[in-house]
Amino acid sequence: MSTLLITITQVSILLAFIMVMVLILTYLERKVLARIQMRMGPMRTGPYGILQSLADMMKLLAKEDIRPHGSDRMLFYLAPLFVFVPSFLIWITIPFTRNIVVENLELGLFYIVAVSTVSIVGMVLAGWASGGKYSILGSARSAAQLISYELPLVFVIAGVGILAQSFNLITIVNQQSSIPAIVYQPLGFTIFFVAGLAEVGRIPFDIPHAESEVVGGPFVEYSGIRWSIFFLAEYANTLAIATLSVLLFLGGWSGPLTEHFEWLQPIWLILKVSAILFLIFWIRATLPRFRIDQLMQFAWKILLPLSFVYIMVNATVPFVETVITSNAASNQLTGIAQIILGACQILILFLVAFAISKRRKKYLTHLHQGVPA
C-alpha cells in the first residue's frame, strides 16, 4: 500500500514538473524566436511577459470544447490521451541526477523506445477521428514520418547500448563522467539529434502539421483543452529528446566540480539541456521545411544507412580493442580506442557532408551567371 502511495506521489510530482517545464519551454521558445527575429516576444502579461504561457493555458482551458460533426466521438476524445500518455511515460525512467529518478529501469532506453512509438497511434487516430480531409492528410504524413525516423533513432540507441554495454541511463551517464560521449560519437549525436527533431515534428521536419499546407495536420479540428494536450505532448517530447541527447552524448549531469558538490549536478543538466533546446529553436528560426518525399528520402537514403554504419563502427572498434588487448573484463573503452572511434565517425560525417555538398554543386551549375556565390 505504501509503495503504491509513494509511486503515485512520485508520478504526480513528475506530471506537475513536466507541466511546469512545458510552460517555461513555450515561454522560452517564444522569447528566443523573438530575439532571433529582432522582436521582443510576449511583453504584456507580467514583467517581460513571463506569465504569458500561464495566460495561454487559462485561455485554452476556458475555451469551448468542440467536436466537429461527422467525427468519431470516442476516438476523437481518446486520441489526445494516446499522444500524451506515452510522451509522459518516457519521463519515468529519465534520471535528473545520479539519485533522482522515478524508476531506474535496467532496460531504460529500450523502454523509452518502446513507449514513445505508441504516440504514432494517437496521431493517426486524431487525424482519422476528426473526419476532416486536412487532418487525414496530416495524420498520414505523421504516421509515415514518425515510423521512418523511429528506425535511425532506435539504431543509434542500440549503438549507444553496444558501446556502453548497458541500456541503463544512469550507467551510460556514469561512463561519460570523464569525457562526454559526443567526443567519440559525433556521428551518433548527429543522427540522434536529427532523427529526434523529426520525431517530435519540429522545423525542418514539421511536415505533419505544416501550417501553410495542411493547417495544423491531425490537430486541425481540435480546440481548447484537447488541443492543449497535444501541445503539451509535443513540448514534453521536445524536452525529452533534448534531455536524452544530453544524457546519451553530452555527459548528462557530469561536469566540473560535480564530484565535490552534489547540488551542481542538476544545474549542469539544465545548462546542457538549455543549450540543446536553444539549438532546436535556432534551427527552427532558420530553416524552411522539407517536402514529404524529400523527408522520406532523407530518412531512408541518408539517415538509415548512416545509422547502420554507425552501429557497425561502434561494434567493431570495441571488438578489435578486446581482441588486441585481450581485456574482456572492462566494458569501458580505452583512450586510444575512443580516439579511433571518434576519428572514424568524424570521417564518415565529413564524407556525407561532402556528398550532400556535391549535390548542391549540381544545383549551382543550373544557376545563372550572376548568382552571388
Binding site: 529582432m38 521582443m40 532558420t286 557532408a353
Partner: protein, 178 residues
C-alpha cells in the same frame, strides 16, 4: 550544407541586435508631419467661428460620401463681425467609412478642413462613429494648438467656385496645386 550554416550564422547575428519592436499602446511611432488621420474642422480664433461655410464641396468630392453638411446665414456677418456671409450649420463625419484619402482637404476653398493626427478613434457603437460638428471643431482646435495648421492669408472675398458650364480646356487652370 555550408549554406545552412551560413543561414544559422545570419540568424545568430541578428539575435544580438536590438529588437525593432515598438510596444504599441504604450509607445507610438512618431507621426510624420504629413500624416493623414481623420479630417477635422478648423476654428477661426480671430472671429471665433469655424472656417467652414458649409459650401458642400467636401461632401461632393468625398469618394465614400461620409460627409454631411448644411449651411446657414452667418449671424456675425449681419453686424460686420465676420466676412463669412454663410456659415456651417451642421457637419457630420462618419469616420467608420472614411478612407483618409485627403480629397476633402485638397478641394476645400476655405482651408476649413485639415487632416489631423487622430487615428485611434475606435468605438463600440456605430453612432459614436458619426462625429458631430462640435467634436470635429474640438479636434481641430487641438490640432491647431499643436501647430499643424497655418491660417490662410486674410481674403476680402472667398474665391469663386468652379464654373460649371464652361467646357474643359487645359489652358485655364482653376486651381493650381502647390
Amino acid at each position: 550544407m555550408i549554406s545552412i550554416f551560413r543561414g544559422l550564422i545570419t540568424t545568430l547575428k541578428t539575435t544580438f541586435r536590438r529588437p525593432v519592436t515598438v510596444q504599441y499602446p504604450s509607445t507610438h511611432l512618431p507621426l510624420t508631419p504629413r500624416y493623414m488621420g481623420f479630417p477635422v474642422l478648423t476654428w477661426d480664433f480671430k472671429i471665433q467661428e469655424p472656417y467652414c461655410t458649409g459650401c458642400l464641396v467636401c461632401a461632393r468630392v468625398c469618394p465614400t460620401d461620409v460627409i454631411t453638411v448644411s449651411m446657414k446665414d452667418n449671424p456675425k456677418a449681419a453686424n460686420e463681425e465676420s466676412h463669412r456671409r454663410k456659415i456651417v450649420n451642421d457637419f457630420k463625419l462618419d469616420i467608420s467609412n472614411c478612407i483618409l484619402c485627403g480629397l476633402c482637404v485638397e478641394f476645400c476653398n476655405f482651408d476649413a478642413i485639415i487632416m489631423s493626427d487622430f487615428h485611434e478613434e475606435g468605438s463600440l457603437t456605430r453612432v459614436e462613429q458619426d462625429l458631430p460638428l462640435v467634436t470635429l471643431l474640438d479636434m481641430g482646435k487641438e490640432m491647431q494648438d499643436k501647430g499643424k495648421f497655418t491660417p490662410p492669408p486674410p481674403k476680402k472675398r472667398p474665391p469663386a467656385k468652379a464654373k460649371k458650364d464652361e467646357p474643359a480646356t487645359d489652358a485655364d487652370p482653376e486651381k493650381q496645386e502647390s
